[in-house]
Amino acid sequence: MARHVIAPVDELPPGTRKFLEIDGRPIAVFNIKGEYFGLMNRCPHQGAALCEGPLIGLAQSSEPGEIEYTKLGEIIRCPWHGWEFDIRTGQSYCDPRRFRVKAYPAHVEPGASVVKGPYVAETIPVKVESDYVVVEL
């Protein structure tokens, strides 16, 4: 598993996402309230660029008339057919048995460790005094 430096933390503030291609794979990395998540940017249903869709919440109902709306900003909705996936896990809410989008761990590393460690930087000039968003795949 290779670890890729994809951005200084300042360039990926909360509520934003970054699209990139790593080893020929389209990837998107999200910052949701300071937590980072990586997803394959391809919907397993019909192949749309999944992560270009809106981030919504999860509407669930225990019975007709009762609606609970949770996971605000944590569900990605495909720009084509509206299929919903949990960005934390890649789990599909339409058909969790058959469909899952590949999720990649993402987190922040201090520059000093990035320079020392076995990392690959995308186009990021790395300085030891900064922190970087790193995705693993």
């Binding site: 291609e21 084509w80 020392k116 690959v120 930087a121 186009t123």
Partner: protein, 369 residues
């Protein structure tokens, strides 16, 4: 230093060579509200500014739901130069026609002049839409062919528009919608079928429309998802009406295309019609043959939205009844329920049937060499 640098790329997947296809349901849109004005007489421009349009349906702006996505469209289909989805030829070429190797694209404009109570305005807007389709689309990209949009509720002006366009190879079919003031077999619509038959043009019946009736036969529903399935119920009533009013009997060379309402229901509707026809035929003696025969001889079906049963054999059984020579592939671009050509047909289809499904049937029906 163990850090490698390399070029970041945000490019899309490389263009792969794909088998040529026809896309029999593409929705071009106007970039601006006034884009049709150059094709409309001053009288109608003034009319629109002062009175607007008066539809049969209560919702003046048309769609009674937000339609799941903005403009019912793919969220990635906004043209880079601005404007609504489907309004840019260059972006349509880049996003749909080129990467999918679309050899024939049939345009079906929606929100046109159809379903408007003022029949003169309806006819003027439909004619303007047809001029606009040539100017903006078909004359600029030879892969694209237009549908003749007609003022559907006034059969005579609709027939006049068809005769005006007949022989113009920018056009390959006549376009109606499924929701009209009355079921489509009624006499008021017959001049349309007569003119289309004379012109040798198929009549496409696209789901939607603003006839003023509820979206389902049992009234107005609560949810958009009910409208989505209501399209097939509506199309079934339209098709039953066409058969039972004797349209297919009266116009034996007429070809109808059922657009965007599914096709999985076709066998059961035909079986049911045949059964009741055997018992009640004296009510409709002008229907001389079992209804299923007219349907199988005179009806074609666009694929999107494809039914997606758990067992693909079930889909193949339905297609076998309909005929592999009767299906026309469609994406419904740029709408949100778009079907991706490379993902839509399950494995296990012969090469000949695949070719017919994706291209051959459409070229034959629409007379494209």
């Amino acid at each position: 230093m163990n850090i490698q640098f390399r070029e970041q790329t945000d490019s899309v997947a490389p263009l792969t060579v794909k088998t040529a296809i026809a896309d029999c349901d593409i929705h071009p849109a106007r970039a601006t509200r006034t884009e049709l004005y150059p094709y409309l007489a001053k009288r109608w421009q003034h009319h629109l500014e002062v009175y607007g349009v008066h539809a049969y349906q209560g919702m003046m702006e048309g769609p009674p739901y937000p339609k799941a996505q903005p403009n019912a469209s793919r969220r990635d289909a906004y043209p880079p130069e601005g404007g609504p989805q489907g309004s840019s030829l260059s972006f349509m070429q880049k996003q749909l026609l080129d990467p999918n190797n679309v050899q024939l694209g049939v345009l079906n404009p929606l929100n046109t002049g159809q379903g408007i109570r003022n029949h003169e305005l309806s006819a003027a807007l439909c004619s303007a839409i047809n001029d606009w389709q040539i100017d903006k689309w078909t004359s600029k990209d030879k892969r694209l062919k237009a549908s003749i949009v007609v003022g559907n509720e006034d059969g005579l002006s609709a027939a006049a528009e068809i005769r005006e366009r007949a022989g113009d190879r920018n056009f390959v079919q006549v376009l109606l919608l499924s929701r009209n003031v009355e079921p489509l077999g009624q006499r008021r619509y017959w001049p349309i079928y007569q003119a289309a038959e004379e012109a040798g043009l198929p009549v496409g019946v696209h789901a939607f429309g603003f006839g003023g009736n509820p979206i389902t036969p049992s009234g107005w529903p609560s949810y958009y998802i009910e409208e989505m399935v209501g399209h097939s119920q509506c199309q079934q009533s339209a098709l039953a009406s066409l058969v039972l009013e004797g349209v297919f009997e009266r116009f034996p060379k007429l070809k109808m295309v059922m657009i965007e309402a599914g096709f999985g229901w076709a066998p059961s509707l035909a079986w049911r019609l045949d059964k009741v026809w055997q018992r009640l035929r004296s009510e409709v003696p002008h229907v001389k043959r079992p209804p299923s025969e007219y349907i199988r001889e005179q009806v074609w079906w666009t694929t999107q939205p494809m039914e997606d049963p758990e067992r693909r054999e079930d889909l193949f059984d339905v297609i076998k009844w309909i005929g592999w020579d009767r299906l026309l592939f469609a994406t419904d671009y740029p709408h949100w329920d778009y079907d991706e050509p490379s993902r839509v047909l399950p494995a296990g289809v012969s090469e000949a049937n695949r070719e017919a499904f994706y291209l051959g049937n459409a070229k034959k029906l629409y007379g494209i060499a």
